[in-house]
């Protein structure tokens, strides 16, 4: 049974990575909350909680990444409004950039277990010290412990946790470091609650050459993985932003791989005016040869 001080730390940690709030919102994972279904966790058993936690983590990841993709292509959505940059034209959410990112991260990024495991274990070790909103503090301790155990079970079993969830937890953890007020408010995800400027602070923490969080995670790792994890974290921080921008502007959302056709004009094409009448076999852009030169001297 965890020590009481540790309980406080774990509660804070679960809140900061977004899991505690998401579990409360889901309603079936924690007893004694306003929205919770009257089903005692202890009776349900750990296996059931682990199973119930999976979709919660998936929703948390989606919410977090919604908050991420609008950094690259804001639009008329709630996440863009929340970060303070609403736009009237379609944006990343209309381009389904979140789905693009989740699918890429979970199905195609060949992220080795040997990187995922120490990273998740570093997350499982957790950080503490952030004051929690009273709603989260009031949660019954036994439920939090079970949730904590369920999350640890998932984290320590590297086959079961999608990379999108891992990245979302990381973003949320840093989000609450950047702005502790992100622990409560609209959305499931602390990261999604941040202003655009604060989201930028999160990435500053992740990709900086001497980022404190990276150093902290690194410190938990044995050589030779230590440098690999910090390097890969810097890689991931850049890649999720670049991939979000790419996903907002390409045809993925409307592409049918079976027929290799698109069902609608991609958002990126609409916004940029790219090939207004669709794919071409040629353009009338041949202007001739510069100063009429069709060859150069062979010297």
């Amino acid at each position: 049974m965890p020590h009481a001080d540790n309980d406080v730390g774990r509660r804070a940690f679960l809140a900061r990575i977004g899991v505690l709030g998401a579990a409360v919102a889901a309603g079936s994972l924690l007893p004694g909350t306003a929205t919770a279904a009257p089903r005692p966790v202890r009776a349900a058993g750990l296996t059931d909680v682990v199973a119930a936690l999976r979709p919660v983590l998936a929703e948390l990841a989606r919410d977090t990444l919604n908050g991420l993709v609008v950094m690259t292509c804001p639009g008329p959505d709630a996440y863009s409004r929340a970060q303070g940059t609403p736009r009237t034209e379609p944006g990343a959410l209309e381009a389904r950039a979140t789905d693009f990112l989740i699918k890429a991260l979970d199905e195609y990024v060949p992220f080795p277990d040997q990187l995922a495991t120490p990273l998740t274990q570093s997350l499982a070790t957790g950080l503490s010290g952030t004051p929690l909103p009273s709603a989260l503090l009031d949660l019954p301790l036994s439920g939090v412990r079970t949730l904590d155990t369920a999350l640890r079970t998932l984290l320590e079993n590297d086959d079961t946790l999608p990379l999108s969830s891992l990245i979302a937890m990381l973003l949320n953890l840093v989000a609450t470091e950047v702005n502790p007020l992100a622990l409560g408010g609209a959305f499931l995800s602390p990261f999604a609650r941040l202003s655009y400027a604060d989201k930028c602070r999160v990435f500053e923490q992740l990709e900086g050459p001497h980022a404190g969080l990276v150093a902290l995670l690194d410190a938990n790792l044995p050589e030779p993985l230590r440098a690999s994890v910090s390097g890969v974290l810097q890689f991931v921080a850049g890649a999720v932003l670049e991939f979000a921008a790419y996903g907002s502007s390409c045809e993925w959302a409307v592409f049918d791989p079976a027929t290799k056709t698109i069902s609608a004009r991609p958002v990126g094409w609409q916004l940029s005016g790219y090939q207004p009448h669709g794919v071409v076999h040629g353009w009338d852009d041949f202007l001739g040869y510069y100063q009429g030169r069709t060859k150069v001297e062979n010297v």
Binding site: P112, G273, G282, V296
Partner: protein, 593 residues
Amino acid sequence: MRDVIVIGAGAGGSVVAKELAGRGLDVLVLEAGGYADPETDWTHYENDANNPLTGFMRFGPADRSRPAWFRETPQNSLLWQLAGVGGTTQHYFGNSPRAYPGVFAGYDGSDAAAYDTAHLFPFTYADLVPYYEWVEATLPVHTAAMGTKESVFFRGCEKLGMALQTTKTTTADSYRPQENAILPPGGTAGRFSGHDDPRVQWPLATGCTFCGYCFQGCKHPAGAPRTMAAKRSADNSYMPMALTADAWSPHGKPVSLVTDAFVTRIRSEQRGGETVATGVSWRSVTTGEEHTEDARVVVLSAGCTENPRLWFNSGLPNPNDWVGRGYTDHYFDWVIGLFDDYTGSTKGAASAARADFPGRGGIMNVGLPPAIQQFALTFSDSGIRGQYGNGRGFTGPWDGPTGRLMGEELKEVLTHGADRLFNILIMTDDDVEPHNRATLSALPADEHGPVAKVEMRQRARSARTVANREFLARKAVEVVRAAGARKVFRIDWPPLILHVHSSMRMGLSERDSVLDDAAEARWVRRLFVADNSALANALGGPNPTLTSQAVATRTAEQIVRRYFGGEGWVRTESPVVSTDARVTRRFAQVAAN
């Protein structure tokens, strides 16, 4: 027992295979990826083509439902590597400039000290010129046609009073149309727009139709035979010639090509105190079956990242610890201008204009479709522009600090219009530095053995390299502003590991090179390297493919001389052009089978 096994069917491997097949040797080519059929496998959609995880142009199995192959890149970077016949030329831009003479041994021009003089090529520029000419005739290489975006670039250069280069060899600061491996627009090509109009299709249109899809793989003009595709990537040019050698060479023998064949080991034995290559082991990517093949000579052409990996996994000697080191990438950067007027950025050959600055590097215009354009704008080592600089965020003649564009600023650029942007790529003459390297990852092996790890210490580059990049970035800004840009961004790219060179470098000294002047491994007899990894340095900045192909042609001659009792042919014979009708006819039969 084969005469020669070539590992990899990219820009270098296909050249060696074609040249040796033309001499009648029994050549087996093993390629880890597939041989795409553009008609059925390729589209003109950016993500379908270029997504490095899932696109048909990625480093991974031809079966796209399977994950890409993992490489460890422990820094903010992107390693852009391609599997499949044609290798990286499947998405290259066809640019075929020669290297600057100053990067070769024996150069005594007044600017001789301006280059990476510690890592020169182990032969002279004059030695390589006949091989350049041979490749230029084979591909063939032409002076590029001009579209709107080239006219913008030239306008900027003219206003700055720059000199125009009118020769193949670059000797002074100058600008010019690219020399590129793209067939010139013929018939109605480049004069009409559309999809179904016969005037944008073969046979009314020949050569480049200005479709703008170089990066997604060239299959134009629509309806043309594969061998007549405008962009002369290795899958359209050299590999078809290798597969049809009996049709165009009086003593030719077609190569055997096996795709989905991942080589996992170079086999060797000790003979008279020397290590000698004897063949390879390879694994079928589709079935997992293991195979071995013996050969008199093995040619390693799997690229700058996979060659060192395979070397280490094969347990080959590395006495000076230079295998995998000296990995150069042209220390890329981007300068991107916003124009009020149409620039035609998404149309025409991806890049048909350049400027060169011997001793510094080069710059060239690049047209991009929107998703890759957004990637180019968001890939930075300077943090998020206006928010944090990640220890950098340089200021200069561009507008604001360097950094990735994000949020409303990025959206403003996108909605400004894909065809009102103008991009210049900076290609730095970067020094060969041993700490930039490909080695083995401590992360777990995949089914082909321990995977590669590529370390690029972006912030520890030499003072000369950094100064060169700054010089070129400022030049690019001058050109873009002179051409009329309203706003100019500089991005400060992290390593985009694409123009890769010299990780298995040939060199003058055995202290810091892996290959001798014939591109044979110093410590493994009968093992040659023929691709960008064999290059001695970063060429001074010019795009590497042509030089790689010229050196590979020279290497093919050296193989014949050293191990098959023959003589060279480049100085005594005339090359057959890859668009020769005999190649087209026979390749259609080969492809049908």
